[in-house]
């Protein structure tokens, strides 16, 4: 079954970079959010299987999205994709419920490794 995907990143380029390395069959089921607020609106409206979430964004950042998802009990497997590669950032997102972390720029190898690790492909 093809999972429903949301990509939340303020950068059009980052969204394209990620979409390019997604498994081919997933590309049709991708919805895009341009910031954390848009992501939360989408996540409240319908269920997604996987959320790819950036951290440093205007309006509402990725940390706040994770915190809100936790408090509102929104269930979605979340993989953070960020240039913020500090250990503390990884610890914070994992504590807030993210499944894993991939550093930017995302490579096909890194993405497949994480998806495989969590039995998502």
């Amino acid at each position: 079954m093809i999972p429903s995907i949301m990509i939340c990143d303020d950068s059009n380029i980052a969204r394209k970079q990620l979409k390019k390395v997604l498994p081919e069959s997933w590309k049709e089921s991708v919805k895009l959010a341009h910031n954390g607020e848009e992501a939360l609106i989408g996540l409240r409206a319908e269920h997604f299987d996987i959320l790819f979430l950036d951290l440093t964004m205007p309006v509402l950042d990725g940390f706040d999205v994770l915190t809100t998802m936790k408090s509102e009990e929104i269930q979605v497997k979340t993989i953070v994709i960020s240039a913020d590669i500090q250990i503390e950032a990884r610890n914070r997102v994992e504590a807030a419920g993210a499944l894993d972390f991939i550093k930017k720029p995302v490579s096909s190898e890194a993405l497949i490794a994480v998806l495989t690790k969590h039995n998502l492909i």
């Binding site: 950068s11 970079q17 240039a83 913020d84 590669i85 500090q86 720029p105």
Partner: protein, 209 residues
């Protein structure tokens, strides 16, 4: 601004992503140095003109007094396709606080204060620019860092009557530490011809998307 220096939306967004990666690498290096989480924000990118450089700097760096370190970067000594200047600007942080952040316990002298500035700016400069260079498939060489001044006004950052560019690309990256009053802005300035080269590199990267 002359038309050929305008970035398209895609070029601008790609550049933003490249800067994000550089910013993240420098943030990680700083967090290792400080043993604390360093807060990052979205880089601010714009073209500035030599004629309005002072006003632009005042807007970008609203602090009254700053301490700053300058360092040049370039891709090739005799024929640089790409070059520019980085300025690390410290504001809202005392030297005592800076020393505390890196567990530096000696009594501060003017010389040690300058060493602190040079050390921290060198870490930011190296990590950020290596991240940017890697994305552009370039290698940057660096000139030695030099102190612009301590507790100076923002107007003194650039000698505007001696600028060798009419327009420059300005990229401002802000770093702060939540638990201390550390605030630092990393400003990259790239002259007209470097901007044109950068646009060509960005076009190639966009074609590969």
């Amino acid at each position: 601004m002359s038309n050929n220096l305008n970035f398209t939306e895609d070029q601008g967004e790609y550049l933003q992503e490249i800067c994000n990666v550089g910013m993240g690498q420098a943030g990680e290096s700083l967090s290792v140095l400080f043993e604390q989480y360093v807060t990052l924000s979205v880089p601010s990118i714009e073209m500035i003109t030599a004629a309005n450089a002072t006003e632009s700097l005042r807007r970008l760096i609203p602090a009254e007094k700053i301490s700053a370190v300058r360092q040049g970067f370039y891709t090739h000594v005799t024929d640089p396709n790409f070059c520019g200047e980085s300025i690390t600007i410290f504001s809202g942080t005392s030297f005592e606080e800076l020393a505390q952040l890196i567990d530096f316990e000696e009594e501060l002298t003017l010389e040690l204060e300058q060493e602190l500035l040079l050390e921290i700016s060198n870490i930011i400069n190296g990590a950020c620019l290596s991240g940017i260079a890697e994305q552009l498939s370039e290698r940057f060489f660096h000139t030695p860092p030099s102190i612009i001044g301590q507790y100076i006004a923002v107007e003194n950052l650039l000698q505007t009557d001696q600028l060798q560019w009419d327009h420059a690309l300005s990229i401002k990256i802000k770093y702060s530490v939540e638990k201390q009053s550390f605030e630092c802005d990393f400003l990259l300035l790239m002259p007209d011809f470097a901007v044109k080269y950068l646009q060509n590199v960005l076009n190639k990267l966009l074609d590969e998307l």
